[in-house]
């Protein structure tokens, strides 16, 4: 077909092309690195809480309440004399755990349902989408609060309530992506290659559609932390005296004029955590969307 010289030339071109078109390495991605640093630091703080926290976060010291920052209590104490820094550190553990876990369950459940509905279509898809529409008709917070009220307060019921409400988002996102992906020729090619529907869905479509759900999941963690904060504010959250940023903001706001740091610093932590997770989501979306050349 080609002369040896032409073939050699074409191959040299290919080799050069393979080099020049290689993808930017992940560590050169600014947003991703910022996200990893911030979220990583928070996770580290949460994991090392027993070592980092100078005091027991629930130990009261009624002789030393509402203390201003000092050498002993860097961020002062709250109205029960508990060390705010220690509560902040332990709070990271509770909030991050609840945030991640509350996302994990609906992520898995919603994605699997959405993928199956989108891929096979038919009555299954119709029924699922009607359910999704019903869920979307109610505001997220209202539903969560009602469900927590029904299930009773506590960490487990928060997971359950959030999962019951937010799986629909994942189902909807993944279904939409699957609808697009299943029309791609590479899916037809996989069918012609004799592959089963299950294999195509998991191995060929899955990796191409999950990135959107993962990116959404990052922002959803932020949402869930906010939800926990809100629930804590309404007295439906994590039961006191467990240290948790939401209840700390709630407790501290009484003293905003005298001891501003009591509410502001946990609030700042929420902001930092949100920022870190958003960066992580942005970075992941860069990393996970394959460079579509055209």
């Amino acid at each position: 077909m080609m002369s040896p010289a032409e073939l050699l030339n074409a191959r040299l071109q290919q080799r050069r092309a393979l080099r020049s078109r290689s993808i930017k390495p992940w560590y050169r991605n600014g947003a991703l690195m910022a996200g990893i640093v911030i979220v990583g630091a928070l996770v580290l703080i949460a994991v090392l809480a027993p070592l980092l926290a100078p005091y027991d976060p629930i130990a009261q010291d009624l002789r030393n309440t509402l203390a201003s920052p000092s050498a002993e209590h860097w961020l002062g104490t709250d109205k029960f004399g508990r060390d705010i820094l220690s509560r902040l550190i332990w709070g990271a553990q509770v909030d991050l755990r609840v945030g991640f876990l509350a996302v994990l369950i609906p992520f898995v459940f919603g994605s699997v349902l959405g993928a199956i509905a989108g891929y096979f279509g038919g009555w299954l898809d119709t029924i699922l989408m009607r359910i999704v529409d019903v869920f979307f008709a109610f505001p997220f917070y209202v539903m969560v609060i009602v469900l927590v009220f029904i299930f009773g307060s506590g960490e487990a019921s928060i997971y359950l309530a959030i999962a019951a409400v937010s799986w629909v988002s994942y189902a909807k996102i993944v279904r939409g992506e699957v609808l697009v992906a299943k029309k791609q020729d590479y899916v037809t090619a996989a069918r012609l290659g004799g592959m089963s529907h299950g294999r195509i869905l998991v191995k060929h479509i899955g990796p191409n559609v999950l990135s959107q759900a993962i990116i959404y999941g990052m922002s959803d963690i932020v949402m869930d932390i906010m939800a926990i904060v809100t629930l804590g504010y309404l007295g439906l959250g994590i039961a006191p005296p467990t240290a948790e940023w939401g209840s700390m903001i709630n407790d501290g706001q009484e003293f905003i004029t005298t001891q501003w740091q009591q509410a502001t610093i946990p609030g700042l932590m929420v902001v930092v955590a949100s920022l870190g997770l958003s960066f992580l989501g942005d970075g992941l979306s860069d990393l996970l969307s394959p460079e579509r050349r055209k």
């Binding site: 290919q14 078109r21 037809t188 012609l192 290659g193 004799g194 592959m195 060929h204 394959p290």
Partner: protein, 354 residues
């Protein structure tokens, strides 16, 4: 370049019993495909309006012989892509039969049935999974069909890449690292991985730049010669078809209207539509264009196929009989079929200048 020895059906007995006369590798008869378009809920409730039926294919007859390149040409809406999809089994026909080596092809194809007929797609960008390396893509197919023992999978992948003119280092690369022409080669390697004996290529070069087209066309010719593949080449570019194919089938509005060997078809077209197609080709040298075959209008909608000959509203040769009789595909010369009642009156074209 030397081709490693490769028999597409090595060690795999065919389903069909050997016959005295070699049957065509693929034969379709009376194939039809129609789609009922959903009407709106409101009109269904009101029970108004007939259900719209799109006739994509309507009585298609075609055979693909062993080791030939058969071109399928037609304009958009002619149903040529639908036919390709039915032949590979990714869409089911509404009616008609498909025979593979003389035996009927089951409606639901198993792993081994679908292996035998593979496809190369038009768009080299959507036909490769962006998240699989070329090596992973080939490995999956080779392992799934136990084409070679596990130890030889990498060796076989390299052989496939060499077969389509790519180097081994492509194995660890992702599709995004390749140009359109190279992607099309990778897609061809994927189709060949499962050792098919039929390749259906749906406009495989029309998304490529002219200078790249030639290398991919040559690849198809080489594969036919060295592997004995039978290739159905769906295309709209008649110059490409003339260059590559042995026989040509012309489709118009869901039916084959003319079939002949390439040189015969272009020299002596026996259907006015084929004649009009030839006269519409932009030419590099002053051609033998006659004003008699300038078509008016555009192909009618497949929702509303004209009665009689489906080409009659645009045909400069149409007579009254054309509006009532639906002509069938008949032999008008040796190995030359045409569906036109005035086929014998069409004159031979001036021989192309060389």
């Amino acid at each position: 370049m030397t081709m490693p020895e490769a028999q597409p059906l090595e060690g795999r007995p065919l389903n069909a019993e050997p016959l005295a006369v070699d049957p065509p590798v693929l034969r379709v008869a009376n194939l039809a495909k129609s789609y009922d378009l959903p009407t709106s809920l409101l009109s269904r409730i009101a029970r108004r309006g007939d259900k719209a039926t799109l006739r994509a294919l309507d009585g298609v007859e075609l055979q693909l012989n062993r080791g030939e390149i058969l071109a399928l040409v037609g304009e958009s809406g002619s149903g040529k892509s639908t036919l390709a999809k039915i032949l590979v089994g990714s869409t089911a026909a509404t009616a008609g039969e498909i025979e593979y080596h003389g035996a009927p092809m089951p409606a639901r194809r198993g792993k081994d049935d679908s292996r035998r007929i593979q496809m190369v797609f038009q768009d080299p960008y959507s036909s490769l999974n962006p998240r699989l390396t070329v090596g992973a893509m080939l490995r999956e197919l080779l392992v799934l069909h136990s084409i070679v023992p596990a130890k030889q999978v990498r060796e076989e992948s390299k052989r496939l890449l060499n077969l389509v003119g790519l180097e081994e280092d492509a194995l660890d690369a992702y599709p995004s690292q390749f140009s359109g022409g190279q992607r099309q080669r990778i897609a061809i390697a994927r189709a060949l991985a499962v050792r098919p004996d039929i390749l259906i290529a749906d406009e495989p070069v029309s998304a490529l730049d002219v200078s790249v087209q030639a290398t991919v066309l040559d690849l198809f010719a080489t594969l036919r010669r060295d592997l004995g593949l039978s290739i159905l080449f769906v295309a709209h570019n008649l110059a490409v078809v003339q260059h590559l194919s042995d026989r040509v089938a012309v489709m118009y509005l869901g039916r084959i209207v003319e079939v002949a060997e390439t040189a015969e078809l272009f020299r002596n077209p026996r259907h006015p539509y084929t004649r009009a197609l030839i006269d519409s080709i932009p030419r590099m040298s002053a051609g033998s264009v006659t004003e008699a075959f300038q078509l008016e209008g555009e192909p009618p909608s497949p929702f509303d196929v004209p009665s009689g000959c489906r080409f009659n509203p645009r045909c400069p040769y149409a007579v009254d009989a054309c509006r009532t009789t639906d002509p069938v595909l008949e032999t008008v010369a040796p190995a030359h079929l045409s569906a036109c009642i005035r086929a014998s009156e069409l004159t031979e074209l001036a021989v192309a200048r060389v």
